[in-house]
Each structure stands twice: as C-alpha cells, then as structure tokens.
C-alpha cells in the first residue's frame, strides 16, 4: 500500500479555510496526521479519516484523503462500517473527548471488543469546544474552566484506563505540542495490527484556561536554579517503560502496569505507549474464520451484477430447503 515516491505533509493539505481559534492544539494534531501519512507514504485514496462532531471533527476537511465528518459520538461505528466493508482501506478515526467519551461512550466500550485494525484518536481538551466550553468527560471534578457557571460536578473519566478496560490492544497518549513524538505515536498506532487508541492532550486556549499549553509545559513552576519551566508532560520511553506484552502470560502484568501509569496526573503526566498486545486476533482474522475469502473479496469489492445488470447472486442453494419440487 505504501508508495514508492516521497510524499510531503502538504500533499495531504486541502484548500479549505481553517477556522480553529489561534493557538488551538488541534493544529498540532492536524499537522502530525499529515506528517505521519506522508512518512508512511500512504496513497491518499487508500486512506479514509472518519470524525464525529466538534472542533476536532473539522480536521477531516483539512486533510486530503477521503474524509467523513459524521455525527456527534458516532465516529467509531461509521469508521467500523467503512473498514469492515473494505478492509483494504486504512481507516483513522477522530473524536473530541465529548464526542468519544460522553455521547460516544457506548461505542468506545464496544469498539474495544472487536480489535478491528484501525486507529482511534481522541482530541482531549477537557471541554466541549464547539458548543462553547461546557465540561467534557475528561475535565476533573471541581475544576471550573472559564465558561462554567459552577465548578465541574462530574468526575473525569480516564481515557487510557477506559480503553484498556474496553480491550484496545494498543493504547497511547500524545501531546499536541510534542510534534515529533506525536507523529511517531500516530504511525505506531496506524501500523498496529488491531485496534489502537491514542489520547492526545490538546490545549483549548479559548475555553480551557486550566490545562493550557503553559500548564502542560510547567510554566507556572520554574526550576529554582535555572528558571526554566518544569514540564508536567514526560515521555514513558524516557523512563524505560516497556508497554509490550511479549507473550500472553504477561497480559495481566502489563495491564496493571499500564493502569498505574494511567492513574498519574497533575505533576507528572506520562505520554507515549502505555500498552501493546498483539496476541489478540484482529476482527478481520475472526471474520476470516467464517468467510475465508473475506480479505480478497470483501463486501465493497464484490461484483454483484452482470454486464446488463443481471443479478449475479445465485440463491439456488439457499432456497433449496424452502422448495417443494413439482412432481
């Protein structure tokens, strides 16, 4: 599927006017997606990006691959349908945190049960951006961002933990201002054989005045000596964290270890790969057990009609049990 020729991120740019707020963390995500696709030398028409609704969901209009901007909370099932009907496509799926974890929470849980070969990215900004800053499911209890009338009354959901519980076989977290790191995560997620989930910390300067770029960067707490900020975000790989389930017997250990990391927040916020387990059969493999021709001749690519529209499907075998022959 990869092309011979070298691609540039700008090969994945459209002419659509981008109307995100200045300084929005979504810009970083957009750029890294374009970079990752270019680095992977993906042919644009073999990639489909599906999104829900929200500021984040507008991303697809800025990327020159097939782009399907769907309904609030429903990115995952649309993406699943695309991938299942044509497993030869690369499918990326994008949601806001409200989209993916609030209204889309049920699909989030159930997508984990399938292990379909695709990457799901959540733009994690703590707020409902497009509807003007209400609390999203990732905003912590008691926090009061700019446009809230009262401190947040709901506890936050932990996307990493939830993805683990749901059954994602690759779980990572990126930060939209760690460009190179994020590109690498996107590439890993895309290339992971199975269902990959990537949480991306995405500052929303307009509505989330708590988890800002400055906050993630630790600008409020400077090193006494150097005067340099002490970033809250750190990389798991820098600490020698090994997320890979090397053999099935390690699953429990690696899961617990991922969970421990997932619980870190505040002063130290890990980014990187939390968990990777390729010992679970993908959904495609499971289907192959039922339909041996599935990968070569999937639903989207089958010929259903002859040259003059004659239906090609032969129901003989099927109606056999329903037929009473004449005498």
């Amino acid at each position: 599927m990869a092309l011979e020729q070298v691609l540039k991120p700008s090969d994945f740019a459209t002419e659509v006017h981008n109307d995100w707020c200045p300084g929005c963390g979504d810009f970083g995500i957009l750029r890294t997606i374009q970079m990752a696709l270019a680095e992977l030398r993906m042919e644009p028409h073999r990639v489909t990006i599906v999104s829900g609704i929200g500021c984040s969901a507008k991303t697809i209009h800025y990327v020159k691959t097939y782009g399907v901007h769907t309904l609030h909370g429903r990115a995952l099932p649309y993406a699943t349908g695309v991938k299942l009907a044509n497993p030869q496509l690369k499918v990326l799926c994008l949601s806001g945190d409200g989209d993916g974890l609030g209204i889309g929470g049920g699909h989030f849980v159930n997508a984990g049960r399938r292990n379909l070969d695709m990457l799901y990215v959540i733009h994690d900004n703590g707020v409902y951006g497009l509807t003007k800053g209400q609390a999203a499911p990732t905003l912590k209890l008691g926090v009061q961002t700019k446009s809230l009338a009262h401190p947040n009354i709901n506890d936050a959901v932990n996307p990493i933990w939830l993805a683990l519980a749901a059954g994602a076989t690759w779980v990572g977290r990126g930060y939209s201002y760690e460009i190179k790191h994020l590109v690498s995560l996107l590439k890993q997620g895309i290339e992971h054989k199975g269902y990959a989930f990537l949480d991306v910390l995405q500052p929303c300067p307009t509505y989330n005045d708590i988890n800002t770029k400055e906050w993630y960067g630790g600008e409020d707490r400077k090193d006494a000596e150097s005067g340099r900020p002490l970033p809250r975000v750190y990389k798991l790989e820098d600490e020698g964290f090994d997320p890979v389930v090397h053999e099935p017997s390690e699953i429990e250990k690696k899961t617990t270890q991922a969970l421990e990391k997932a619980l870190e927040w505040g002063d130290r916020i890990p980014i990187g790969v939390f968990f990777k387990n390729e010992h679970v059969p993908t959904f495609e493999e499971r289907i192959l057990q039922r339909v041996s021709t599935y990968m070569d001749n999937p639903p989207a690519l089958q010929s259903i009609a002859g040259p003059n529209g004659e239906p090609r499907t032969d129901l003989t075998r099927l109606v056999q049990r329903m037929t009473f022959k004449g005498e």
Binding site: E43, H61, T313
Partner: protein, 658 residues
C-alpha cells in the same frame, strides 16, 4: 343431515406453551401439506416471553393460494389445557378438538397465564352454558355444539414409543407430543401419512432416530384418531402438481430479495421481529454467484466465491451508522430493525440523506408505541418513517404487502437507493414477516441491478477539474464515488456542504443543495413505474374503493374474492410507494369513488391521512385494528359488507384474535 365433505379447505390450529415445540409441529404440519401439493398459509402468535406463555399457530390448507387466516378453526390440536380454554370457542360446530383426556379436571383458575379479562370472559361463557370450570366442562360445551372430541392419551403413546425405542426417561421425548398432535390431526383428516413422514424427514434431516421416533408416534396417533373419528367432515387430499412451490416466511422473502439485489453487508441489533431476517442471513453468509433467479433451470458454473457480512452491533445507532459507513465503500448495505431500534436511527438516516448515501433500512413494524407488544402486529410506523429525522431530508419509503412484494422490494430498495442516492426505508409488518406460506416461485426475470451514476478515477478528473461528489452541474444526481476509488477523493459532512462535500453556510449554496436533494425525489416520482407505486384490484368504475397497504393485502384479497363473487362492486387500491407519494395516481383512482374505505392495522388511519395530505381526498369509512392481532379475512369481509350495506359507522374497529 351432515353437510357435504369439505376437501382441501381447512383451518387448523395448534397451541402450547412457548418453548414446548409447538413451532415444529406447525412446521411439520405445513410441510406435509405442501409436500402433498396443497397451499398453506400460517400465522404465529406468541407472547414476549421465552418459555411458558401461550403460543399458537393458525394454519390454513387449501388447493388454491391462501393469503390470510380466518377466525374459525376446524381442527384444534393441543396437548395441554390453556390452548383448549383459549381456543375451543373458535372451533366450528362441525370441527374437532384433539386433546389430552388426562387433563379433563384442570380448572380454568389453575392456569395463571390466562389474563384476568379473558378469564372473566371464559367464566361467563361457561356459566352461560351451564357448566363448571374444568376442561371437561369446556369440552362438554363444545361437544354440545357438535364438535367432535378426539381424546389422545399422549402419555400412554409416549410410553409406548419410549419402550419401542428404548428411551430410559420419558422426559427426554416429551417433545414428541407435538407430532402426536399432528399425527392425530392428519388421522381425522385422512391425509396421506407418507406426506407427514416426508415432512419429518425434511425437518429433522440428519437425525434419523428422531425421525423414526416421531414418525412412529405420529402413526400411532394417526391410527387412533382415525379410528375415533372415521367420518370427519373435513378432509385433506394430495393434489398432483407440476410446478415447484416455495414455502417461506415474509422475513425470509425479504432476505432473499435483498441478497438477490446484491446486498453484501448488513448490521443489526437483536430485536423482535427484525432479527429473524438477520439471523437467517447470518446462517447464509457464503453465497453463490451467477444464478438466474430463485430457482434456476439448471446448475450454473460459479466463477468466484461471494459472501456477505452480517454484524451484530452494540445498539441500533451503531447499526445504522455502521451500515452507512459500509455503503460509502460501495457495498450494498442495509440494516434491519423494528420500532424501538428505528427510533434510535433518526440521526443516522438524516446523515445518510444529506450525504446522499444509498442505505437501505428494513423496518419490521410491530405493535407500539414504546416497547408496546413486541411480538404482536401493527402497521403503526408509516408516518414516522415518512418524517423520520429532524429537518427535511428526502427518502424513499416502500411498503410490501405480500411475499412477492417482500422479495421485489428487498431487491428494488438497493436500486432505488443507488439510483437516487438516498436512504430507502422498506416497511414490512410483523404479520407478514412472521407468516409463512407456500407460493409459486415468482418470476423475477425482469429484475435488473441498477447501480445509478457511479464515478471513477478514469472520468477525467484532475487538479483543475477535481471530482465533485455533489456536483451541481448535471441535474440533481451527481456521480457517486466509492471510498478507495483512485482519483475521486471526496468529503462528507452532516453539515450543509458545497460540491466537494465541505461545510458551507452560504445561503445560495444551501438553497441549491436543498433543491438538488429534493429534485431527486421528484425524479424518482417520475421514473418509478406505476406498478411499483400501487396496484388496483377490482372493477375500474367501482363506487367503493378501499385504500390499504402492507400485510392487510392478503386478508383483503381473500375477503374481496368473496365479495366479488357476491357481485359487490368494490375496488382496492394497494399502495406500495409511500414516498415520493404517488398523489396523482392515487387521486385518479379515488376521485370518482363515492365510498372510500381505509383499511389499516393502526389507530390513526395513517395512510388515509397521507392520502388526504397529498390529494385532499378524505376517506368516508375507516376499518381499523390495533389490538395487536392481524386482520382475519372473516372480520374484514363482515366489516366490508356492512359498509357496503350502508350500515357501518364511519369508523369500524376490528377486535378479533386471541
């Protein structure tokens, strides 16, 4: 004194608790009839329950095609008390009751599953007949009317079988009672027992021992019953026949039509009665190619394996959106559901419509609102299907009235969806879906697959002339590209969009897109042939015209056969295309009718309201039913006669059915 023997015109009913195997007895009975060349029509009634509540199958067998049930029963077969209490009153005076004499002392009040209201009604009945409250009393009342009683000592027969086949525990073969009841039925009807044997072989196939055991039992019951009632008025005889017959349900018919139409992807979330179709498809995912219809003349070579994918989703929102995602890739995709699931699909349908996605939704109507009566019948979702989803979005709505229409509409749905690039809602009602019958295999040789206008990368698109998914330049239908087709990158959004598929809020573009979308509906109205839109039965100049839709077609045609035979000048306009609504065509048939009768299985006379909305013409009479039971041709016949005589109120509510 005795009326002449009635050959090959029978109404048979078998009942028993859910999960006790009544379904297979009905199946064996029907298949035996079919094997003997008879036509059958059967309806199922059961509670929303897994085990223990009352279920029954009412079956008609006839030399000619049967399309509906009637109220009365000629042979009632059962092995337990509840069925008898519930249905004995429906047995005709010249009919018979097959029952278990050991249950004679069972009291009405011993049966907890009979509803209070019905219990009271039965008590009144028994009192009025001056008898007590036991099953024997109920039987006595029947016998007094002339009904033949056919006591079958089920347990004794079972014990004989257990002995013969060396079964150690009777409990292992309790299900054989079902076949005893069938055997006894055929015994009094004098039907060729070989047919029953063939049917058992057919149904239990590989399991040779099960077949012989059931056959042996059935034979015993057959002989016993025959000896008890040697001269029964009703008889079934084999009918020699050259042409093949199909024996199927409405769900299966719909599934066949969809498969034949090239469906390759279906999603579903379990729900009664829609899941039947999906489960049938799930069992038949591997397909053959290059057939010539349902029953080809000869075997044809297959070139390549084909298959479809059935996906059980986490809910119906996922079902509709997943099917839409699949449809974008070019796979003919559908989802099938019933009311509650359909209610969850509103947003998804709107998205498919604004993005001009060819998506098929098969909507199996059941009795609503809300959870309603999940296993009961209604035509209650017409209005909802027409107006499904916020805002204004075109869709095609088709409603099938019989098995052949189920097949054809199943097929056609995909053509219409792709030709006009919009969702198609295919309405089937439960009474049709769950009925089973024999039909002559429809001639489908006229069916062709029409994939509409499809774009591809070789159409000369380039940087300066990019592919435009929603091109406004060439009439309302733009060439549709599929995800993954080189040279045709496009975008979709639920927002109003420009020609490329990007978001726009420009008022001018907005108007153009709204008009484009709805112009497709106008086009469809023009292009869809009249015989798909509606069918008119009866004399052209009838002063009385019935307007109806869906499963009532069978009962209507059966009732009309009688009325026409009596010389009634009644026409019947059967409407199949609900959107775009064939206003002019409907008006043409209604304009001169003095009496216009809506026949619908709902409270609100929904089709009548649609007719009035589009033509201004109001119905003069309504024959409606909403108790969850399908219309029998008996009650319909009576109601229509009474309208014919000018004696009916404006609104007649039918209430029969157990």
């Amino acid at each position: 004194m005795a009326a002449p023997t009635q050959v090959n015109d029978l109404s048979w009913l078998i009942g028993g608790p859910q999960g006790s195997g009544v379904d297979s007895s009905a199946n064996v009975f029907a298949r035996a009839c079919a094997a003997g060349g008879l036509h059958v029509f059967g309806k199922r009634e059961f509670y929303s329950n897994i085990m223990g509540e009352h279920s029954y199958f009412a079956l008609r067998a006839h030399t000619n095609l049967v399309r509906s049930h009637i109220d009365s029963v000629n042979v009632l077969a059962t092995f337990e008390a509840e069925t008898l209490f519930r249905h004995a009153r429906a047995v005709t005076d010249d009919g018979a009751i097959i029952y278990d004499p050991s249950l004679g002392k069972t009291r009405l009040s011993d049966i907890p599953t009979i509803e209070k209201r019905l219990r009271a009604e039965l008590q009144t009945y028994l009192i009025s007949h001056g008898v007590g409250e036991t099953l024997d009393d109920m039987l006595a009342a029947s016998k007094r009317r002339g009904v033949a009683l056919v006591p079958i000592p089920f347990k004794d027969l079972l014990e004989q079988i257990a002995d013969e086949f060396q079964i150690d525990q009777l409990s292992k073969i309790t299900r054989v009672v079902n076949m005893l009841a069938v055997g006894a039925s055929f015994g009094i009807l004098g039907f060729d027992f070989a047919m029953m044997r063939a049917s058992l072989e057919d149904v239990f196939r590989a399991k040779a021992k099960v077949v012989s055991m059931n056959a042996a039992g059935a034979q015993k019951a057959y002989d016993l019953a025959r000896s008890l009632v040697p001269e029964f008025r009703y008889r079934l005889e084999r009918v020699p026949r050259k042409e093949p017959r199909l024996f199927l349900t409405g769900s299966q018919a719909t599934a066949l039509g969809k498969l034949y139409g090239g469906m390759r992807f279906q999603t579903y979330y379990p729900i009664t009665p829609a899941s039947d179709e999906s489960e049938f498809l799930e069992e038949n995912e591997i397909l053959d190619l290059d057939g010539h219809g349902l029953v080809p003349e000869a075997e044809t070579p297959k070139d390549k394996a084909a298959s479809m994918l059935v996906v059980q989703t986490e809910d119906e929102i996922a079902a509709v959106t997943m099917a839409t995602g699949a449809a974008l890739t070019g796979a003919r995709s559908a989802t099938a559901t019933s009311g509650p699931g359909f209610s969850l699909m509103m947003e998804g349908i709107g998205w498919a419509s604004i993005n001009e996605v060819p998506l098929v939704i098969t909507l199996y109507q059941r009795a609503g609102p809300s959870t309603g009566m999940p296993t009961r019948h209604e035509q209650g979702d017409l209005r909802f299907a027409l107006h499904a989803g916020h805002g204004e979005s075109p869709r095609i709505v088709l409603a099938s009235g019989d098995f052949e229409e189920c097949i054809r509409d199943g097929f056609l749905s995909f053509n219409l969806a792709e030709r006009y690039q919009m969702p198609v809602i295919h309405l089937v009602d439960k009474a049709l879906a769950n009925s089973y019958a024999t039909i002559a295999p429809p001639n489908l040789s006229d069916l062709r697959i029409d994939r509409g206008l499809v774009a591809n990368g070789n159409n000369g698109y380039s940087k300066d002339n990019p592919y435009k998914r929603f091109d406004l330049g060439n009439g309302p239908v733009s060439a549709r590209a599929l995800l993954g087709q080189e040279g045709t990158i496009f975008w979709n959004t639920g927002d109003e969009h420009d020609e490329m598929g990007h978001i726009t809020e420009d008022p001018g573009l907005r108007n153009a897109m709204m008009e484009k979308r709805f112009a497709k509906l106008d086009l469809a109205a023009k292009e869809i042939p009249q015989d798909v839109k509606l069918t008119y039965f009866g004399p052209k100049d009838a002063g009385t015209v019935i307007v109806s839709w869906g499963s009532t077609k069978g009962a209507l045609l059966d009732a009309l056969d009688r009325l026409w035979a009596e010389g009634a000048k009644v026409g019947y306009l059967h409407v199949r295309l609900m959107s775009p609504f064939p206003s002019a065509e409907v008006l043409a048939f209604l304009a001169k009718a003095r009496r216009r009768i809506a026949v619908e299985m709902n409270f609100g006379a929904q089709l009548a309201s649609v007719v009035r909305e589009h033509t201004g013409v109001a119905m003069t009479h309504f024959i409606l039913k909403y108790n969850g039971r399908p219309m029998s041709n008996t009650e319909l016949y009576e109601a229509l006669r009474s309208v014919g005589k000018g004696k009916a109120p404006k609104r007649t509510v039918l209430t029969r059915g157990a």
